[in-house]
Amino acid sequence: MTNHAVLAEQFVADKPRAHWHDQALWFVRAKRDLAAKSLPEWEELREHASNIKAHCVSRLADYLEEFTRNAEKLGAQVHWARDAAEHNQIVLGILQKHRVTKIVKSKSMLTEECHLNPFLERHGMEVIDTDLGERIVQMRREPPSHIVLPAIHIQKEEVGELFHEQLGTDAGATDPQYLVEAARKHLREKFMAAEAGITGVNFAIAETGGFVVCTNEGNCDLGVSLPPLHIACMGIEKLIPRAQDLGVFLRLLARSATGQPITTYSSHFHGPRPGGALHVVLVDNGRTDILRSDDFRRSLNCIRCGACMNTCPVYRRSGGHSYQSTVPGPIGSILSPAKDAAKHDSLPFACSLCGSCTDVCPVKIDLHHQLLTWRGEIAKRGLLPKSKTWGMKAVSFVLQRRRLYEWSGKFARLSLRKLPRWMIYNRFNAWGKQRELPSAPRSSFRDWYRQQPKNGADKKES
């Protein structure tokens, strides 16, 4: 059972590092703000994106069939996977059929979700993640901590050490230019030796049967224009109806993610390369369950931009790993409980309900409202700790009874005024660990109000 609070506390304990992480992500948020403000029509754009996704989801089955028809007409092969296990089997099957053992993979959160890498490695294949951030975490044998900036939690000194150990760069080197150059050489070898390229899909177009992959590094494209086999893996919610809808999403995606107007490469694939093979794997893995929920359906709008993570004051100060889920942050705290509420029951509470995420989301997912709704779900499923449920029952009991409430308040204030400090501030008082409690007044507001001469005192006492 994950517990965000415990992991977050560990993260915060390294004060300078937590501060550095917070500043790094705030900087990305600030760049997003500048990019958004450069378009006066930004809020309309968000509204259009949200409506396009809602429309697409309302006719998803038809659009999936249209996409499949058109993709097959172009010469691609389309596969359908109910869940992660089936997805992995399908990908394995394609690779084995082509006798592939060396694979390069550009960033795909879907393949992370399905844990594709360890599965393929168990079957004797080499999978190299080619996005630099992904490659760094792969070399460190850890999961990415952010869906767009996988290595945002790692400092350049640590990258220098890692590359020194594994790539033979100079000891103590930290210059990003130098380190990127080393990674370039290392990954070029992998691109050259690869027998297949696996990619994700940013947007698949029903109208044309094609799909788009967005990168800055060019790693997707190198990965699929050298080897003859391209496998593209996508969640079924990545579909959009028309090619012109790409205009909306490509204007929003990079600006929301990193504050750039567009990624360096927005590659549009329509059918395989001449002489090559293209496979598209459509994956459900719980998305149809989310679709059926009125409360959570809008989370399928997600275009995996990461803006919610960058803006989340909790994510910035606890790091992606504290969520222990493939997708962390606000959107992850909605998607992961949908897969396994018991495992991820602390995530909807890893949130101060500030609402910043909802305001940055390019596709207008009501993130903080869905997080609150998830809390209700977790309570309904009996997953709240007893201390919380009993605590709330007790508090509600008191608050429903005016006299009991007044008496409890008086007693609490009296205790706070009279008890010695050591009885109030101790390990049972989490509030008091680093904060003072408010000083307790002698009378409450209502005490004072009742004592005033009749200038509006309400006689309705029950």
Binding site: A5, F445, G456
Partner: protein, 252 residues
């Protein structure tokens, strides 16, 4: 016009001076204000923990108490947000609830939108830092949020500027959450405190002498941090500043 004053439970018990200041300002503006003593709590702590069943009776109680008023005003953005945005599931299409929902206002919102006050006698010659509480900002839209592309506005600052001599400090992150978040303050204590410390540091670098906002919950958390480090920075609710009287002596 008859206004029912709703004073949040913890303000009633721990910050009565804020309830008092709210009442003073409303009366000075000529409003006929009642405080129905039957009230206790809007139910937000239960709702935010996911305990709908425990929230329902309090929601029903609130509507029953306040349905006969023309307006319901509260010095709390989060409580009003609760009433307006999260009571729906308990009421269906109840006319009483619709009325309460439409007529519930946060204190500054009421002064700005309903009374439309454009002058307020009083001096407050201090450097004031406004903490923009999240519920007030992003649920009630008391001001423009930094995330949205929209013209800048702040109902709270507009009201405070009516006072003579007041100055506002400029923050690095004008609307970042303070980290209170209800039970979050205790359940995720480490992150909550770091968030609060960062807000305090922002105000310190900005030169804030008086930290203010529309939600006493945020201010309680920030003040808790300030008092622990023995900071001279004062913390006052907007009502106390607008009243030009912090009301503390009345409740000592």
């Amino acid at each position: 016009m008859k206004v029912g004053l709703f004073v949040p439970c913890y303000v009633d018990q721990m910050y009565p001076e804020v309830g008092w200041a709210t009442l003073q300002v409303l009366r000075r503006c000529g409003v006929d204000v009642d405080y129905p003593v039957a009230q206790t709590c809007c139910g937000q702590p239960m709702a935010n923990t996911g305990c709908s069943d425990q929230t329902a009776p309090l929601a029903k109680q609130f509507v029953a108490i306040f349905r006969s008023y023309d307006y319901i005003v509260s010095p709390s953005g989060s409580c009003i947000s609760m009433v307006r945005n999260h009571y729906g599931e308990f009421f269906g299409d109840s006319a009483d609830y619709q009325h309460v929902r439409e007529r519930s206002y946060e204190f500054c919102e009421f002064l700005h939108d309903v009374l439309k006050i454009n002058e307020l006698p009083g001096r407050f010659p201090h450097r004031v830092g406004i903490h923009q509480s999240c519920h007030g900002l992003r649920e009630l839209r008391l001001g423009s949020s930094s995330e949205l592309v929209q013209p800048a506005f702040s109902k709270v600052q507009k009201l405070l500027s009516l006072l003579e001599g007041i100055e506002f400090t400029s923050l690095q992150r004008p609307d970042e959450c303070c980290g209170f978040g209800g039970t979050f303050a205790v359940a995720e204590e480490a992150v909550s405190v770091m968030m609060g410390d960062n807000r305090v540091a922002d105000h310190e670098q900005a030169g804030t002498e008086v930290l203010t906002g529309v939600d006493m919950s945020c201010l309680m958390h920030l003040e808790g941090l300030l008092r622990r480090k023995r900071s001279p920075m004062r913390v006052l609710h907007v009502a106390q500043i607008l009243a030009c009287d912090d009301g503390k002596t009345i409740f000592q």
